[in-house]
Amino acid sequence: MSMNKNRFWRGLKKGLMYFIAIFAAMVTFFPLIVTFLSSLKTNEEILLGMFSWPKVWNFGNYPEAVRAANAFKAIGNSLFVAIATLAVTVIIAMPGAYAIARKNYSYLKAVYILFMAGVMVPVHCTLVSVTKISSALGTKNSYIFLILIYTAFNLSQAVFLFTGYISSLDKGLDEAAKIDGCGDLRILVQILLPICKPIIATEAILVFIYGYSELIFSLILITDSTKYTISRAMLNFTSNFTTNYGPQFAFVIMSMIPMLVIYLILHEKVEAGMLAGAVKG
């Protein structure tokens, strides 16, 4: 009897968990479905109400979006900038976080506060100065400069996250390695890096999204239309003079696709990293 009761409760609990999980997934998907449906509609249909089956499946909004925003080129540019930003950010932030978390020099506290401050800086107050630096260096239309700026604005948060994670890890690990004669660099690359995969993946997603969809700096620093990133190209759709909603929705859907692909590729790594963390931590 009590065994049965127990099983019943466990079953109920499991059912409840599935219910919550599925409900949450539905809440997440619903707007996307509505957006997708809208991307197949004409203006008049959208204005009649968004949540309805399109009368005609009109895929014409997609070529329109591609044409007007040069979407493929923009998506490619955004991908490049995002991946480069991601790589540079992680390469610079990891050693910094390692030093701050594991070394005891007093100046590192100041460095940590510097990065903390960096997390807090509102982007817009830096615009004029960054533009000044850019024109002093003659870096108009330079992706390298843009990537550096993106890195600068993601670095603080990355250092902050990584430091938090590394200091939560058991120190015994790297001390054992030290006794085995490992230098800092080897400890970092061979021991900590694999363990830190989950947090790196977590931060990577955010940096990637930032690099992929950032607007303000790319607006000021990139003026060559062949180098436009995706948000910049998207401006053509949200312009005051354009009253065509269908292509706007089509563009939202299209700009999503590369992100999803990247995530699905990265997903396995995140998963693997999490397992590694669980085993070794």
Partner: protein, 297 residues
């Protein structure tokens, strides 16, 4: 330091090398502009290159701190923080428990919850402001369908309601992302802890409260700091959904500093808001860091 051994010196220099690239980039592209802003905040300037910059001392700060608009924007930022801790944190932690549990299809759920953040703010803002349109939006359609069209209001144009709409959309967007932060913490809990808990008969909600949550302490701290700083700086989602309007009713401090600077051309005033935000955020983060989380160690 020069009295110490050569070995110490070498190790010291090595640590310096590890942090230096990050420090330089941050100093040049983030801190230098902030110093410039701090200096501007003590001056009056119309933002036009070559036009005189006039020293006014603390006047910008006084005007900012006595302006209704500024305090209204701070209230909006506070709504963001409240939403972050009361809505976002439990949801994100709950989702993290779900996707790290033994349920089937956690891979799918994880990917699903993470999707909104992958869309980018502009797309999310655009999507939701259409969904919330009082004429043809989905919510209005739904209320009409259930016969409560009198409940339809201009959600994005009614003060307080509009900022909460933005806050909720923000939670919708970031729940999956913060789930990842907590999940990273949960999977880092060693297996023997789980086993010990099981032996002690500590399962279910009890285990979450007494074992999982305390062991994810670091991740809660990370969340808190990211949440507070993110909320104080909230700009993109507000801008995408309401432009801070109508009449600045949904403006956050970051929106206000942007409009005051680049539309109203009050660069000094805008600078003072930036500095207030920065200092406030820094104080709050350090407080969280040192007082609340260190005490329990």
């Amino acid at each position: 330091m020069f009295f110490k051994s050569a070995k110490y010196r070498k190790a010291f220099l090595k640590s310096l090398l590890f942090v230096l690239p990050g420090v330089i980039i941050t100093l040049v592209f983030v801190i230098y502009p902030v110093i410039n802003t701090a200096w501007l905040s003590l001056n009056s300037w119309n933002g036009i290159g070559g036009s005189p910059i006039k020293w006014v001392g603390l006047q910008n700060y006084i005007k900012t701190l006595t302006s209704v608009k500024f305090w209204n924007s701070m209230l909006n930022a506070l709504y963001f923080v409240i939403g972050g801790f009361i809505i976002l944190m439990p949801i994100a932690f709950g989702l993290a428990l779900l996707v790290t549990s033994k349920l089937k299809g956690t891979k799918f759920f994880k990917a699903a919850y993470l999707m909104p953040v992958m869309l980018g703010t502009t797309a999310v803002g655009l999507m939701w402001s259409f969904m919330l349109n009082a004429n043809f939006g989905v919510l209005a359609q739904f209320l009409k369908a259930i016969g409560h069209s009198e409940w339809i209001i201009n959600w994005l144009a009614t003060p307080t309601v509009n900022i909460w709409c933005v806050v909720l959309v923000n939670e919708w967007m970031y729940a999956g992302y913060n789930m990842l932060i907590f999940a990273a913490g949960i999977v880092a809990i060693p297996d023997d802890v789980h086993e010990a808990a099981l032996l002690d008969g500590c399962t279910g909600i009890k285990k979450v409260i007494y074992i999982t949550a305390p062991l994810c302490k670091n991740m809660f701290m990370v969340f808190s700091v990211l949440c507070i700083t993110g909320c104080l700086k909230a700009f993109d989602i507000v801008w995408a959904m309401t432009n801070g309007g109508p009449m600045d009713s949904s403006a956050t401090p970051a929106v206000l500093l942007y409009t005051q600077g680049f539309q109203y051309k009050l660069m000094g005033r805008s600078g003072s808001i930036s500095i207030i935000l920065l200092v406030l955020g820094l104080i709050l983060s350090l407080l969280l860091n040192n007082v609340i989380f260190k005490e329990r160690d």
